[in-house]
Symmetry: C2
Subunit: 214 residues, 2 copies
């Protein structure tokens, strides 16, 4: 792992007691159940009680880990975002050779995939709820900014993009916005076939922009 | 108006009775109030009764025009989408000269603007609710497909894009997905400054792709 990897909360390789292990396992089960619940039922259908039942955890234990509903769901989205970041970092070690179109295509496809799974569905439910509920708004805005910055950093690193060159920063930002838009297009129908064609074409455009000589 | 403009429901220039005029005005007020309500309060907070009160219309009159909640809100999103289509068609008559980067920039900015106003906010609320509520799902999927096709057609026409050339169709589709992603990024915070930079950069990239000789 590179030194810039943020510490995994509650994790690490130090010795832990069985009680700590159980507590961590409970927390993980709650976070996973919360993401699935948000993605499937939306904010209105997602309460701490529903998630606790889904996770097979008592409501008291759930509230011990997450005192409020907002705590639970923002932590859940952040948790899955961190797992996806780890997966993207692992990808960096296993890419086609630098300077090839195959590499750019693989990276664009993986970045776009960030926005088409259950994490994006859950995050979208949270964003939309936050746009109507002030008590959720600040928390989610803050979370979105952190996840967005981290994703941008990873995209720049994977693509080997030189942000000192004019326009490169905006090119990469636009790519992530494209991913977000493709995630939205996949919300109600399976948009996989169309998305693959767009990823192929935009990867080729992007490859030309990022790798051309100025 | 071009012959391809779909008929405006309940509109047109034929003579109407005062009663028909009143009925049409009531319908328009309900549709506008419904969009505002969805954008501000989300699906959970949007009922026919709330919209009727906001529009200053009796609940009975509202239900005469729109028998169900689903009827009202899908009609509202479609109505505003049609108004936006009309505005885009009007734009086509007032663009910078063909073949200039200024023209491409204006078109990209206008297309992206489709996704940053109250219409997109309302549509997003409806999409997200539809992903959790089966009785809304088919209606919204159908609506989204129609609005999406119409927007794509207009984008192709405005950009003068030749879809017979390989990759051009996917380039234009991706541009609209980029717009959708930028709309989402604008949901919780005012993303205008960042968005303008991205639009400028990607307009310049797209101009190169769409207008280069093959």
């Amino acid at each position: 792992m590179s030194p810039t990897v943020p510490p995994v909360r509650g994790g690490g390789r130090t010795a832990t007691s069985p009680k700590q292990d159980r507590s961590r396992a409970t927390r993980q089960r709650l976070l996973s159940a919360a993401v699935d619940c948000l993605a499937e039922h939306g904010w209105a259908g997602s309460t701490v009680a529903v998630v606790a039942e889904r996770a097979g955890v008592s409501r008291g234990a759930a509230q011990h880990h997450f005192p409020t509903r907002e705590d639970l769901f923002t932590a859940a989205v952040e948790h899955v975002a961190e797992k996806r970041s780890d997966a993207l970092r692992a990808l960096a070690r296993d890419l086609p050779p630098a300077g090839t179109i195959a590499r750019t295509r693989t990276i664009v496809a993986e970045l776009v995939d960030l926005y088409t799974g259950p994490l994006f569905r859950a995050a979208l439910q949270l964003w939309v709820a936050a746009s109507n509920e002030p008590q959720l708004g600040d928390r989610v805005t803050d979370l979105e900014a952190r996840v967005g910055r981290e994703t941008h950093r990873m995209a720049v690193r994977l693509l080997g993009a030189d942000e000192a060159r004019p326009g490169v920063r905006e090119t990469v930002q636009g790519l992530l916005d494209l991913g977000r838009g493709l995630g939205l297009a996949n919300l109600l129908t399976d948009d996989t076939a169309r998305r693959h064609r767009i990823v192929e074409q935009w990867a080729s455009i992007l490859d030309g922009v990022l790798n051309r000589e100025e």
